[in-house]
Amino acid sequence: MERHDRKLGLLSAMPLGLILVLSFLAPLVVVAVFSVMPAKVFTLAHMPDFSAYGVFFERGYYKSLLWSLAMALIATLALFLVCWPLAFGMAKVFGRFTLVLTVAVVMSLFVSENIRLFGWVLTLMKGGLFEGYFRSLTGIGFDSPLYNTGIIIFGLVYVYLPFMLFPLAQGISMVPDDTRQAAADLGASRWQILCQVELPLAAPGIMVGSLLTFVLAAGALAESKILGGQAVIVIADDIETAFTFGQNWPLGAALSMVLIVIIGGLALFGVSRIDLDAIMGRKR
């Protein structure tokens, strides 16, 4: 009877489980099938010819992909450096102030990303908050830092900060104070404690934070459009153009598939290397 019950539970869950699996996979399958269709068709009833993937190399779309991945990588590294001390403070030092910081960071998520980025444009543009005041006070004007690659990376760091900060703080809180003190008692230097105790023990948090920020940043579009003045064309921009003004759904689908496979592969690799249960607070 016990065994039966367990089976019945599974069976009961099946209809809903099936709907969930289908609704998750169906759009991906449609994109995958569209990506092998001949150019500029709008239905799936055609002979696949895989030509869209050829275009990816011929037309230089790989450049956009490389730009996206490179900027995402730099933004992730920058975020790690910025967030580590902050996360350490939140997990170990700040005490009740941590709550204030958490609320402050979470509050920023309540405002749409586009609006926050426009806020930066108004701050940084020529005649904006910085340059405008500086010029009216000193009479000396300067060019705005907008519309280049650096500002896009700044935008990525700014927008995705919470996605690195919180997992990192969670990861650092998993490092027992005793371990750190024991290492110090045994003569480890500050550097050795960081490299040999804190970083390995906080690895699940580092991995989750890095994956989240990298995956989001690689598919980001608004930072390049709003702050960067499209100084570089990111892959998400090319995907949008293919689906809209290009009216070439197979090309858009193929570009999406390339991004999905790279990001998906990376995420699976990353997740398989860490103990997700540990960071979720469950027993190891």
Binding site: K40, M125, S144, Y147, G229, Q230, T244, G246
Partner: protein, 378 residues
């Protein structure tokens, strides 16, 4: 509680019954005359337009959704939303080239709508030939339109200089880093052809393709910023970040002008490569979607937007301000005050129209958009 097989089956049956009931509660298919859905550029979805229509048609549920680009809206119909929408409002080449040939829109009744052309501005009264398909069917009603070439800050570049130089302005080495490109991609393709001295609406092949490539590279290479946001572009123009922007017109300049920035001015070149014309003009058509279960209210709405007050509301909606073809009717023109007419550059509208080509189907679009996106990346 232990679950027996009987109880499990009973539960499954109840769930199935529940799903069936839920299925039956989905909207009834008959009697679509109690609703009307329009997919449009911003304006037709505003309270100023829909409010009076709702008041005049109580009992009809009117829904409107605004798109931010022609292809975005067309993609919705392609994806099967023909059964949702009754009217679609896009620029005329998209209606003639994409929607009609693919059976996504259907012709309007000429008997009912041709008389409305008589009261339109001279450019449209003929009636406007591009409102018709090659087979002679009436595809949609023209309303908003506007010359669309480029925009300058007249404090930095005078209107006369800009009009005389035309597109060459953007090839001038002195302009490097002093202009932006508004990334309305389909427009840029047209305008880059004109800049290269080519006719965008004729087939472009061989050597001319490399001419187009060089022009595209040159224009992207010299641009200070690229954005698809006209407000950001106007802001950069007003605060001196740039002195001009490639691709723009009354549609993009009017919001800044209405805000008092008269130095923002849409320019139509004095000369150009196609019959001496170098500018271009867009005209929207509002067409009946080929809905399998059509609503008769849709054509009523198309008539409703021809009335003076509503035509004005369509012209001056939130966001952008545009002339309307109905301004040929003195009653419609009387709705606009001098500030509003200044915002849409009414002083030069007719002559700009005379110097503009009709926005048409770009014959070699597939080849050109590929080169264009490639140039944009480098």
């Amino acid at each position: 509680m232990t679950v027996t097989r009987r109880r499990f089956l009973a539960g499954t049956a109840a769930t199935a019954a529940g799903l069936m009931v839920a299925g039956r509660m989905s909207p009834a298919r008959a009697a679509r005359n109690d609703q009307m859905n329009i997919l449009c550029w911003e304006g037709y979805n505003s309270d100023g337009v829909l409010g009076p229509f709702r008041a005049a048609n109580s009992g009809v549920t009117v829904r409107a959704e605004s798109g931010t680009s022609d292809p975005d809206m067309i993609n919705k119909l392609r994806a099967g939303e023909t059964s949702v929408w009754d009217l679609i409002n896009v620029n005329q080449p998209w209606a003639r080239d994409q929607l009609y040939p693919e059976g996504l829109i259907k012709p309007l009744s000429k008997e009912r709508f041709l008389p409305y052309f008589d009261k339109m501005l001279p450019e449209f009264a003929a009636p406007y030939p591009l409102a018709f398909a090659d087979d002679g069917n009436l595809l949609g009603m023209p309303q908003r339109y506007g010359p669309f070439s480029f925009v300058v800050n007249t404090d930095k570049i005078s209107r006369e200089t800009a009009e005389d130089q035309g597109w060459n302005l953007f090839l001038d080495p002195a302009m490097k880093g002093r202009y932006g490109v508004l990334t309305y991609d389909n427009w840029n393709v047209i305008h880059m052809c004109l800049t290269a001295g080519l006719n965008p609406f004729a087939a472009i092949e061989g050597e001319n393709l490399s001419k187009f490539r060089d022009t595209a590279m040159g224009i992207f290479g010299g641009a200070k910023l690229l954005t698809d946001d006209l407000v950001a572009m106007n802001t950069a123009l007003i605060n001196g970040e740039i002195d001009a922007y490639f691709t723009g017109g009354t549609y993009t300049a009017s919001p800044a002008r209405y805000d008092g920035a008269d130095n923002v001015r849409a320019i139509t070149p004095n000369s150009g490569p196609v019959d001496g014309k170098g500018g271009c003009v867009w005209v929207e058509l509002t067409s009946a979607v080929n809905n399998p279960d059509p609503s008769s209210v849709a054509e009523d709405f198309l008539e409703f937007v021809q009335t003076p007050e509503i035509a004005k509301a369509v012209a001056f909606t939130e966001g952008t301000y545009n002339p309307v073809s109905q301004m040929g009717n003195p009653d419609v023109l009387a709705q606009f005050d001098s500030e509003e007419l200044n915002a849409i550059q009414m002083d030069s509208l007719a002559e700009e129209m005379a110097r503009s080509l009709d926005y048409d189907v770009v014959t070699s679009y597939d080849a050109l958009i590929d080169i264009y996106t490639e140039a944009r990346r480098t």
